[in-house]
Symmetry: C2
Subunit: 368 residues, 2 copies
């Protein structure tokens, strides 16, 4: 790869850190951010770490109008050995570029992006919380910045990384949630943007979520956009079911997001010799299995929540209670193993964790 220089400007006004014992998700941000600019004809340039600060954009900046933007989400964990670990960050960088493809945003050098993330986290080491269930959430994103009202790919972008010390995503923690099968709204369809991590997918999902919450459900289960029949995702997570001893998750079909946690679970299950299949799963098939008492567990998976057990599924005026509304054994084992690997307390047979190395102090201050 090309050697990229990352300039560092340190803040002169460090923030007071929030109470790490009571962290809300995604509301506190660290002292610095990482930025790289893109200009057509010049490529990505001016990689830099600067004090956390507002973004200033022309009101005609294309991100406001035509939504050309992608993002990623990953976490850094503080280990008992005073190390900071990232979990499979290469997967996030690869997905970022797949999202870029779909959104007509130029590829970013994955090593540059990851180096910037590591340097930034290293600088913010004191912001990585240590309590159980907490972590430093890493949010890389790209926005189209050219001021132009024509519908076309932007000629300018910014890649930005911000960091947020977080507690658990769901206040319920690892406790099971109740979800409603969505019949009116659709998250994504084949040929659309469902497998890209782009803002519009999330904007479009809010209405169904709002309706479900008003009915007392914390998430919706999305069905496919073509036939409204096959299970796709739950809220903003992938979904797994344990049916009659076999773990089933919807196969990647172009409208389902390729979750890093999803992939990790598939690999763990295979490693444990637990039968697992990625395939089409219709709500009808699930219901039939439920009636036969064969639906043993259900859980959503994602970076924010890791594993989120599903205790109840609302479908056609019927409440399907799964595993007595309690967290299943496998769900718990997967959660413990994954978070254990992430925290460095469990062995890491796949080499998933990546250590954030401490920089030489000299390097750090060199460009300050």
């Amino acid at each position: 790869m090309t050697e990229f220089k990352i300039d560092i400007t340190l803040t002169e006004n460090p923030k007071q850190k929030p109470d790490f014992a009571h962290l809300d998700f995604g509301k506190n941000f660290t002292d610095h951010m990482f930025i790289v600019d893109y200009t057509k004809g010049k490529g990505w340039h001016d990689a830099r770490i600067v004090p956390y600060q507002p973004i200033t954009l022309d009101p005609a900046a294309m991100v406001f109008h035509y939504g050309q933007t992608v993002f990623e989400g990953l976490k850094a964990y503080h280990t008992s050995e005073e190390e900071v670990l990232l979990f499979r960050p290469d997967m996030n960088m690869k997905r970022l570029n797949r999202s870029n493809d779909r959104l007509c945003i130029p590829h970013i050098d994955e090593e540059l992006a990851l180096n910037g993330i590591k340097k930034l986290i290293d600088l913010e080491r004191e912001w990585v919380p240590t309590a159980e269930g907490t972590s430093l959430y890493v949010r890389p994103f790209i926005i189209a910045t050219e001021p132009y009202l024509g519908v076309a790919p932007s000629k300018r972008y910014q890649f930005i990384v911000i960091l947020s010390p977080v507690g658990a995503y769901y206040k319920e923690g690892i406790n099971p949630v109740k979800i409603a099968v969505e019949r009116q709204f659709v998250r994504a369809t084949i040929g659309g943007t469902g497998n890209a991590k782009t803002a519009g997918n999330y904007a479009g999902s809010l209405k169904a979520q709002e309706v479900a919450e008003a009915d007392g459900y914390s998430q919706v289960l999305w069905l496919d956009g073509r036939e409204n029949k096959y299970i796709e995702e739950v809220g903003s997570m992938n979904i797994f079911f344990k049916i009659n001893g076999e773990v089933v998750t919807p196969m990647l079909n172009g409208s389902i997001l390729e979750g890093v946690t999803r992939d990790s679970i598939l690999k763990l299950l295979a490693h444990w010799n637990i039968p697992v299949s990625e395939r089409k799963l219709s709500m009808e098939e699930l219901y039939e299995a439920y009636q036969q008492g064969l639906v043993e567990e259900a859980f959503g998976t994602g970076t924010a929540a890791v594993i989120s057990p599903v205790g109840e599924l609302f479908w056609e005026n019927e409440k399907l209670v799964i595993n007595g509304g309690k967290t299943g054994e496998l769900s718990k084992k997967l959660y413990d193993t994954l978070t254990g690997i992430q925290l460095g307390t469990e062995s890491d047979p796949f080499g998933w964790t990546v250590k954030v190395e401490k920089q030489e102090p000299a390097t750090l201050s060199q460009t300050n």
Copy 2:
């Protein structure tokens, strides 16, 4: 309605106006902008006209991550009587709120929004170009501004209106364009956000457009997301076909945008006693009609281009040439009538145009 006060701060550095004879679409902006803030619990507040200036947002502002944003597009025309006319702006304000519903953004008072637009245009009267085909493009939009990385509706928004003097949207002008029927990508599906004017729809459309352009086509014809069979829109316009004397446009089904120009054309055609129907139209049906020599005209409709005739349609390795690749008689008549009404040179039987009244100078400077 509640009486809203609009504060005005005039610029101290008026820009040099661009060459009105050579205006690109959406690249030049006027001296001022209109802003209204929204805060949960307080509603919309602080309506103001200020000098055109950058928007400053926290990097965690939700618009960058979850795409909660809607917009509108309308035009102000300079008449030969030195008046400035808007075309059916009430339709845009109503649609803005329908988009808001879908995106979980709070309704804005339509009269407040329209008053702000009128006051802003009045102030920028000298920016309304006079040459044929030119106009002042009005872009109202709403963005979610709360800094929060959770997937939920924002608690803060800004409604912003910017103005751009524009030439013709397509360099081809009223000349026919070549379009390709899109088979791989999907713009929207029922249950999604297709009938809302929101950024994500446009972001998702760029890829197909890029592929089509590389193949020498200026737009794509979108088919439905469920069966990939029924015609929906063309590029970012609605689509009409004249088949055997009858004008046909896809019926509004929840995934098609309810265009103001589309509605105006339906009303004009009915007024002229030309047979017209809103219904499902499959590509197969169109192809069959084409083979029988019955497809007489095709045109896209939208605020930016008004009428954009389609001269050629690429479908399954075949080029369907419509009306010899020339602008059809009805397309031309609709274009002339609509632009005539918009410019005040044709009679306005439906009362579609709305005059931008001149403010008393006293009112203008009062809050300056």
